[in-house]
């Protein structure tokens, strides 16, 4: 029986090792393609192992790094701003909702909840944001859209509810205002959930490409992911021209390797950083109960 268990464990470990290799493999393919030689790719296709090892794609990208650095900077700035603002504002509404005796609480709950059920859709939102508020082609469109996510609000509220009422009660008796209680006690006690939500918000903003797709036309305001998306599109356009006209030469741009190098430059840092925060993401899922 014991030996059987051991064999089972070994089989499981082999199974998961293979599965994980399969999951990680596409990352490796990108990496390998980005370090390949453009000429070799055009004759033999992308290589699983770059031979010869060639960094000219990266040289090409970093010869003129302004665009990518700007996109990195911009994306970082709006992701951090949105994260801080969003967590603060969502806590501000979650706290009153966590107090069992507040009048009109259910109205506010429904007010938030309804936005999860029904929305105006793309065109009315677009008209509001760009024609009325004129947020298009500004950094604000990245920050202000989706600041309040009802789902996250309810998660924060659920956590707040778990904080013992005596803490609030004793502070009130000591004459503390609700603001003081919120800032000095509730927020510090809720670090785990706030960190989790902050990461969710940050990840969402960092990976945001469709806000730019709809609202941004100025190249200097492209978010990182949208820049990557544009590069894919633009090289596609180059290729189509080449096929149609037969005259245009794209051979001076190592198009295939540059594209893959860009994907690595964009994905790399996130790939290294986010797994460190994995436990928060997992916690966010298993905190689970959103009801109330």
């Amino acid at each position: 029986m014991k030996r059987q268990n051991k064999i089972q464990q070994i089989v499981l470990i082999i199974f998961f090792s293979l599965l994980c290799l399969g999951i990680i493999f596409p990352f490796w393919l990108l990496l390998s393609a980005s370090f390949s030689n453009e000429g070799v790719i055009t004759t033999q296709g992308y290589q699983i192992w770059p031979n010869p090892f060639d960094i000219s794609a990266y040289e090409y990208v970093f010869r003129n790094p302004d665009q990518i650095l700007r996109a990195y900077g911009l994306t970082f700035v709006f992701s951090i701003s949105a994260m801080v603002l969003s967590v603060l504002l969502m806590s501000m509404i979650a706290y009153p909702l966590a107090r069992s005796n507040l009048k009109g609480k259910s109205v506010i709950n429904f007010y938030l909840y309804f936005t999860m059920l029904f929305n105006g859709g793309l065109v009315p939102t677009y008209l509001l944001v760009s024609r009325t508020l004129h947020l298009n082609d500004t950094i604000w469109v990245y920050i202000l859209l989706g600041l309040i996510n009802p789902w996250y609000v309810f998660m924060i509220r659920t956590f707040f509810k778990g904080i013992p009422g005596e803490i609030v009660e004793s502070a009130t008796i000591d004459g503390a205002s609700e603001y003081t209680i919120f800032v000095r006690m509730i927020l510090p006690l809720s670090k785990p959930v706030l960190a989790t939500i902050a990461l969710f918000v940050f990840l969402g903003k960092w990976n945001d490409w469709n806000t730019a797709l709809i609202y941004i036309t100025k190249p200097e305001l492209y978010s990182l992911q949208y820049l990557l998306q544009k590069i894919m599109e633009d090289i596609n356009i180059l290729k189509q021209n080449q096929e149609l006209g037969g005259m245009l030469s794209v051979s001076d741009i190592p198009a295939e390797t540059v594209r893959m190098a860009m994907a690595i430059i964009v994905a790399g840092p996130a790939l290294v950083v986010f797994p460190f925060f994995q436990k928060y993401f997992v916690k966010g899922l298993t905190v689970g109960s959103v009801k109330g």
């Binding site: 464990q9 499981l12 998961f16 090792s17 599965l19 994980c20 999951i23 596409p26 393919l29 055009t42 992308y46 509404i93 706290y95 009153p96 005796n101 507040l102 009048k103 009109g104 059920l117 029904f118 929305n119 105006g120 859709g121 793309l122 065109v123 009315p124 939102t125 677009y126 008209l127 509001l128 508020l133 202000l144 600041l147 309040i148 609000v153 009422g165 009130t172 004459g175 205002s177 609700e178 990976n207 469709n210 992911q225 990557l228 998306q229 894919m232 295939e256 893959m260 964009v266 996130a270 790939l271 986010f274 797994p275 994995q278 993401f281 997992v282 899922l285 298993t286 959103v290 009801k291």
Partner: protein
């Protein structure tokens, strides 16, 4: 109202009050809500009034309110157009594939992870499985492109080893439900399995001990204890996912297909969300704002009905679960 704000907080036992009057602390709590409520009003509620566009023929110079009413003609146009059945079918069938195979895959992963004894191994594997979740759809689209590129792609190279000629995947619509399902599972299986895994960790271990005493093997244990314990959760999650079946993952259907490879793949990959976006972007047709609003409104209303219905259903399955 202002006078109420001046009532001293000290005189109140704030937590156990039964009084009707609003206290200072109440006002302070309301004031905390103010900015978030306002933001939700601006960015969520004001656009809701914009759905009247669905009944109008929008003209730039006339604005939303000034544009002429056209009744249900936008809807009529959509119902009669040949994309209607295509969109509904593609959205539902693709989502159906994602739901069914997604659940099967994440269940298998969760159950096998649960059988794994070494905690360190479990953690390492979980980390790797979750990694794709952190990537944007744009990056995923690059990976898919590297694999499927007709001239240089890895898949065609692999097929060449078996003597199969190059296939131009980006012009083969019938391959895409499979490709998209695999992509979707690849990205989500790690995160999805976490929920099931967490639920498995909550099983009363005495059940396993009892099973062992009765001489049950691992397989019997899985069939008789592990799987049944997951039934309520699987049911609820499935029901909730069905509630969202009218909403497609825009990033997946737009970037991973390379914008439907400029039309070649619409047959199987054009979904409600991508149709709305493309019609909106390609505004040369003039009437497109009214039409896209109509389609958006339709999606929103049907989606809302589905969510409410499925939620009611999930509550019947298990009172404690369900979204609200």
């Amino acid at each position: 109202m202002a006078s109420k704000q001046n009532v001293s907080a000290k005189s109140m036992t704030t937590l156990s009050r039964k009084k009707r009057k609003l206290t200072t602390s109440d006002w302070q709590l309301y004031s905390l809500c103010l900015i978030p409520v306002l933001l939700v009003f601006i960015f969520n509620y004001i656009p809701m009034f914009g759905v009247i566009l669905a009944f109008k023929n929008y003209k730039f110079n006339l604005g939303i309110l000034g544009s002429p009413w056209v009744g249900f003609s936008n809807f009529e146009f959509f119902f009669k157009s040949n994309v209607f059945t295509q969109l509904i079918w593609n959205t539902i069938s693709n989502n159906f594939l994602f739901i069914v195979f997604g659940i099967i895959a994440s269940l298998i992963v969760a159950i096998l992870l649960f059988e794994l004894k070494s905690r360190n191994a479990t953690k390492t594997f979980q980390t790797m499985l979750i990694t794709p979740h952190f990537m944007s759809w744009v990056i995923v689209s690059y990976m898919v492109y590297a694999i499927l590129n007709p001239n240089y792609g890895y898949l065609n190279q692999l097929l060449a080893l078996f003597g199969i000629e190059k296939i131009d995947w980006y012009s083969k619509p019938y391959a895409w439900p499979v490709i998209l399902t695999i992509t979707s599972i690849w990205k989500n299986v790690g995160m999805d399995s976490v929920v099931y895994y967490a639920s498995l960790m909550g099983i009363d271990t005495s059940l396993f001990e009892a099973a062992e005493v009765d001489g049950a093997n691992k397989f019997q244990r899985t069939i008789h204890i592990v799987l049944p314990s997951l039934v309520p959760l699987v049911t609820i999650l499935t029901i909730l996912k069905i509630g969202g079946i009218f909403r497609a993952d825009f990033g997946l259907f737009y970037t991973v297909t390379q914008d439907g490879a400029s039309g070649n793949l619409y047959e199987t990959t054009n979904v409600i969300d991508t149709y709305i976006f493309r019609t909106f972007k390609d505004n040369a047709t003039g009437n497109s704002y009214g039409l896209t609003s109509a389609v958006g409104l339709l999606q929103s209303v049907v989606g809302m009905i589905l969510v409410i219905a499925t939620n009611a259903l999930s509550k019947k399955v298990d009172k404690d679960l369900g979204l609200f």
